[in-house]
């Protein structure tokens, strides 16, 4: 039945698109490479400018996904390749093994307490804390199922000595699992789907700040990216919302945010990532709420407060929360050996004076890079975003007919825009799905084929 639609990427845009499609009774395959949907928004604690909590917006949408039988979730999987044309695409999806039979697993979490391997860096908390080899991605994950991390599991990836002697180790989780859902022999499989349209919603990743050696990301201890800081300040974060320094676990007294890390820079990315000025302001306010006597400073060149309610949010940060905004680009960060504090070197362009200031903690507002390296025949722009066929006459279609693109992978944007686009793309995809179901793919009288 090729009246269905493939949504690649389970972030807020992908979820919204899937919901809108399912609402009209169309079958949706939602492919997500992580074990749970939610995408980057699941990492957030609060969203700007209204400061309402991110999971209050995302969690109900994720819960709604389970409510529609015609949404098929393909977790832990990636699109291998796509052939065919609008109306009947053939998509091969590689489903990586989770080593747990998800039909049986009810997400009770007993295995995650019993597993002996305790030191696996938890990528949901971006490595700030540890988890077990068998884990549920985060408490509100959808689907709330366990996954075994083959790299660390002693059974699936035994240390050299044991492998030579052919001994099978551990098996603790299998013993404790009440529903016998553990399947060590599970293999990855390739699923073939016939779909009428594809919506690309693979979203974005943070640019690798290690590419900027002068900042010393990955070397200095009290240096975080803004996503890591978001985890720190979130209630479900590694420290339960306490902002603690990695070096000595104390509360910081002075925090700095450095803007345009990897953005607006010919050496890394020309584009501006649009979200980070407001995200930094929000995090400064959250820091002030958690630690009333902390002093927050944001180093910027142009504060991009362009959206609805953004400018008032910025003024409020300055007025009510005393956040300092200094216009100057930080070029270098040095770590003090003893206190592990960080000294930032910049020119305060207001006073034209080279300044060096010491901070307990520094947060880098890192640029975004689109997840656009996909096996799809769509064209990309010079910056690596997925190219729109005609932004004015057909705002959500890619250069390939029948494939639509939404969210951050098409351009730097924030949550409301992504959600808006998702609805638009869902409707367009639904159109093709309905038509191809009714087998009457014909050219319209006025030459406008499918995309109107």
């Amino acid at each position: 039945m090729n009246g269905s639609v493939l949504v690649v990427g389970g972030g807020v845009a992908g979820i919204q698109a899937a919901l809108d499609l399912a609402e009209q009774g169309i079958e949706v395959f939602l492919v997500e490479k992580a074990p749970s949907i939610g995408g980057k928004m699941a990492y957030l604690d609060k969203t700007f400018p209204t400061l309402d909590c991110a999971s209050c917006i995302l969690a109900p949408k994720m819960a709604a996904v389970l409510r529609y039988p015609n949404i098929k979730l393909l977790m832990n999987s990636e699109v291998e390749d796509v052939t065919g044309r609008a109306g009947n695409f053939v998509v091969r999806v590689l489903k990586r093994p989770t080593y747990v039979d998800w039909t049986k697993c009810n997400g009770c979490g007993i295995c995650t307490q019993k597993c002996p391997v305790k030191n696996v860096p938890d990528d949901y908390n971006l490595g700030l804390s540890n988890r077990r080899a068998i884990y549920i991605m985060f408490p509100q994950a959808v689907p709330k199922k366990a996954v075994i991390d083959a790299r660390y599991c002693m059974r699936l990836n035994p240390p050299e000595k044991a492998k030579k002697e052919g001994k099978t180790l551990c098996g603790v989780c299998e013993r404790h699992c009440p529903t016998k859902a553990i399947e060590y022999e599970q293999k990855s499989e390739v699923i073939e789907l016939k779909v009428a349209a594809i919506i690309v919603a693979t979203g974005m990743e943070l640019y690798n700040a290690k590419n900027i050696p002068e900042y010393g990301y990955g070397v200095y201890q009290n240096l975080y990216t803004n996503l890591e800081f978001e985890r720190l300040v979130s209630a479900t974060g590694p420290s339960g919302g306490e902002i603690l320094r990695r070096s000595d676990g104390k509360h910081p007294k002075k925090i700095a945010w450095i803007q345009c890390v990897g953005s607006r820079d010919v050496r890394f990315n020309h584009y501006c990532s649009a979200y980070c000025c407001m995200a930094a302001t929000k995090q400064a306010i959250l820091a002030k709420e958690h630690l009333p006597e902390v002093q927050c400073t944001v180093y910027y060149m142009d504060i991009r407060a362009f959206g609805k309610g953004f400018n008032e949010f910025l003024e409020r940060a300055k007025r009510e929360f005393g956040v300092r905004y200094i216009r100057g680009k930080v070029v270098r960060i040095e770590e003090l050996a003893d206190t592990k504090n960080l000294r930032v070197v910049y020119e305060d362009t207001a006073e034209s004076y080279l300044r060096v200031e010491e901070y307990d903690m520094v947060v880098l507002s890192v640029a975004i890079t689109p997840n656009s390296r996909l096996p799809l025949p769509v064209e990309l722009t010079s910056d690596g975003f997925v190219k729109l066929k005609d932004p004015y006459l057909d705002p959500v279609s890619t250069t390939v007919e029948g494939i639509f693109v939404v969210g951050a992978v098409a351009g730097a944007k924030d949550i409301p825009d992504s959600v808006t686009e998702a609805s638009a793309a869902a409707a367009r995809a639904a159109l093709i799905a309905k038509r191809s179901m009714a087998r009457e793919v014909r050219v319209l009288a006025n030459g406008g084929v499918l995309n109107g």
Binding site: V266, R267, Y346, D348, S352, L354
Partner: protein
């Protein structure tokens, strides 16, 4: 330091700076990376961004009195780290050319900095021909007599050189006085003479030490050292020839002089040829410094000195193999090559920057721009 008086913005200045080689002047969006990343600003309290800003807007009063462009030591870190891909070091060089345009009394260097390379070469060639013909008509018949002796009675060959050297030093002196006044020399001195000299030397040693660690910078420093040594010894020898009593050409001193001569020639030759070659045959691998610093004055200063170095070496060799006649002719050519250098290149060309740089550092030190510790 908020100036109360209102200053007029003059867009012409920005155009001039761009003509003088600061192509990427207006690409900068004032982020301050150049100031922050420059090793100089760690010890001197200056803002290169602000110096560039003045020229972007075109505030003449601010630009002329600004010492900052002169404290630049051409490390190039700013151009490496500029987020906009502009090259602040190139712009600063252009600002220096613009400023020097106001220092020399007749404003010739302003014209000189704006002309194209071939115009410079033509003017240069004209002066060269004049000085050559001067030698030819003035000296040639009296010279034939001397050829036979093993050495040259150089004293009276020196008049054109002496005259142009005098002229150059006069111009340089006047420009230095105007620069000194422009930089606000003598006013608000906070640091004593001696301690600023000590501070300056410590600063230079330290800055150069760091620069040596970086390969590209090391090449440029070596080239500059060779040029300095070469020019130093060359002028010494020239003076020697001009004013020393003739006995110096006998055994022990002659040998030292010759050896010094060779050393000067070779170092001059290397000093000028290596940057020239790098610029001529700039490849992908060549450091941006050689690819970007290609203003006509850069070329001119190299093109002017390169033949001098070459011919000087040829003269020494010819002397050794006692082809005095040829060496003598070459000697005349070298001298007439030096005349345009002295008349044009030194007072108005790129090399007068050394004078203003030293002045600027000195005044900066005296004014207390050097940070303690």
């Amino acid at each position: 330091m908020v100036a109360s008086s209102i200053l007029f913005a003059n867009p012409k200045i920005a155009e001039e700076i761009i003509k003088m080689g600061g192509k990427s002047l207006l690409e900068c969006y004032q982020c301050g990376s150049c100031t922050a990343v420059c090793p100089i600003t760690e010890s001197i309290d200056v803002s290169f961004r602000r110096a560039i800003r003045y020229t972007q807007i075109g505030l003449n009063e601010k630009i002329l009195g600004d010492i900052t462009p002169w404290t630049c030591n051409l490390h190039g870190d700013c151009t490496d780290s500029c987020p906009r891909g502009a090259s602040p070091s190139e712009v600063l060089a252009a600002i220096r050319r613009y400023q020097s345009g106001f220092f020399d009394p007749f404003g010739v260097s302003r014209w000189w900095n704006k002309t194209k390379l071939f115009e410079k070469l033509i003017l240069y060639f004209v002066v060269f021909v004049i000085s050559l013909s001067f030698y030819y008509f003035y000296y040639w018949n009296s010279l034939t007599g001397y050829i036979s002796t093993e050495f040259f009675a150089v004293k009276d060959l020196s008049y054109p050189i002496a005259f142009s050297a005098l002229f150059a030093s006069l111009i340089l002196f006047l420009s230095a006085k105007r620069a000194y006044r422009a930089f606000g020399g003598g006013k608000e001195y906070k640091v004593g003479f001696l301690s600023s000299i000590i501070k300056l030397t410590k600063f230079f040693i330290e800055v150069e030490k760091d620069a040596l660690k970086v390969p590209e910078k090391r090449d440029r420093i070596i080239e500059h050292v060779f040029i300095l040594l070469g020019l130093g010894f060359y002028t010494l020898i020239l003076l020697f020839y001009l004013f020393s009593p003739s006995y110096f050409f006998i055994y022990p001193y002659g040998m030292i002089l010759k050896f010094l001569g060779y050393f000067a020639a070779i170092s001059l030759l290397y000093g000028f040829s290596s940057p020239l070659m790098k610029r001529l045959f700039a490849r992908q691998k060549t450091h941006w410094y050689y690819k970007k610093f290609t203003h006509s004055t850069d070329w001119m200063s190299l093109i002017a000195f390169f033949p001098v170095a070459l011919l000087y070496l040829a003269i020494l060799i010819l002397n050794d193999i006692s082809y005095y006649y040829f060496s003598y002719i070459l000697y005349i050519v070298v001298l007439s090559l030096i005349v345009p250098i002295l008349l044009l290149e030194v007072p108005f060309g790129k090399h007068n920057h050394w004078l203003y740089k030293v002045l600027a550092y000195y005044i900066a030190a005296r004014k207390g721009f050097f940070k303690e510790g």
